[in-house]
């Protein structure tokens, strides 16, 4: 799965696509296996409530891959027991249809630069989270300079 993430980024240019593994707190096998040589994020669904699975129901099943858009809306799902060419092509088709080339500074991906993006960039700075789409001066960090540049663009 990690290889596929790299493939999406390097071969197809899908920078803003991420595969997130959803494990369970009561099962360690998946976590160990998934994390081995993988750079994909892993979250733990708290057992026995399994609230994430409940939220994604009926799609939050074993080996299911659920694809959501930028706003968290359901696009489609696939049973990924194996990740072969057919499954990859299915996912690539969905991405081709739904992926937007990101606009620098457009942190909420609504294709408009406005005060909402300023609020988000401030949130990222306060949370000490790096977001490349908010890195207006490409210095590898988010700070007041990025806010100033974004503000200037909005005011122009």
């Amino acid at each position: 799965m990690s290889d596929f993430q790299v493939e999406l980024k390097n071969d197809y240019g899908y920078e803003n696509v991420v595969i997130i593994a959803v494990g369970q707190t009561n099962i360690s096998d998946f976590n160990d296996n998934f994390c081995a040589d993988s750079d994909l994020p892993l979250v733990m669904d708290e057992y026995p409530e399994l609230l994430i699975r409940e939220q994604f129901s009926p799609y939050g099943q074993d080996h299911y891959l659920v694809i959501l858009d930028y706003e968290g809306n359901y696009i489609d799902h696939i049973d990924l027991l194996n990740l072969g060419n057919a499954q990859k092509n299915f996912i690539l088709g969905i991405l081709e249809e739904n992926y937007n080339q990101s606009l620098l500074g457009d942190l909420n991906s609504d294709t408009i630069l406005n005060v909402a993006d300023i609020i988000l960039i401030i949130d990222f700075i306060l949370s000490e989270i790096y977001n490349e789409n908010g890195d207006m001066n490409f210095d590898g960090g988010l700070n007041i300079q990025d806010i100033t540049i974004l503000l200037n663009i909005i005011l122009q």
Binding site: V17, L40, V43, N73
Partner: protein, 54 residues
């Protein structure tokens, strides 16, 4: 009656999308210990893979 119906329907649309914000437990991930999928991947198309085995 129509107003009551609208008040009942509107929140259902408002909360139709999914979201969660949980710590990333993969220590080889670039977002290790950050909260994902929100806010770290808020401007991403997200693919959520559910499994209990490797």
């Amino acid at each position: 009656m129509k107003k009551i119906l609208l008040l009942m329907i509107f929140p259902a649309f408002f909360y139709a999308n999914y979201d969660y914000s949980l710590q990333d437990y993969n220590n080889t991930s670039p977002t290790y210990r950050e909260n994902v999928w929100l806010p770290s991947y808020s401007n991403h198309i997200t693919l959520h893979y559910f499994s209990t085995q490797g």
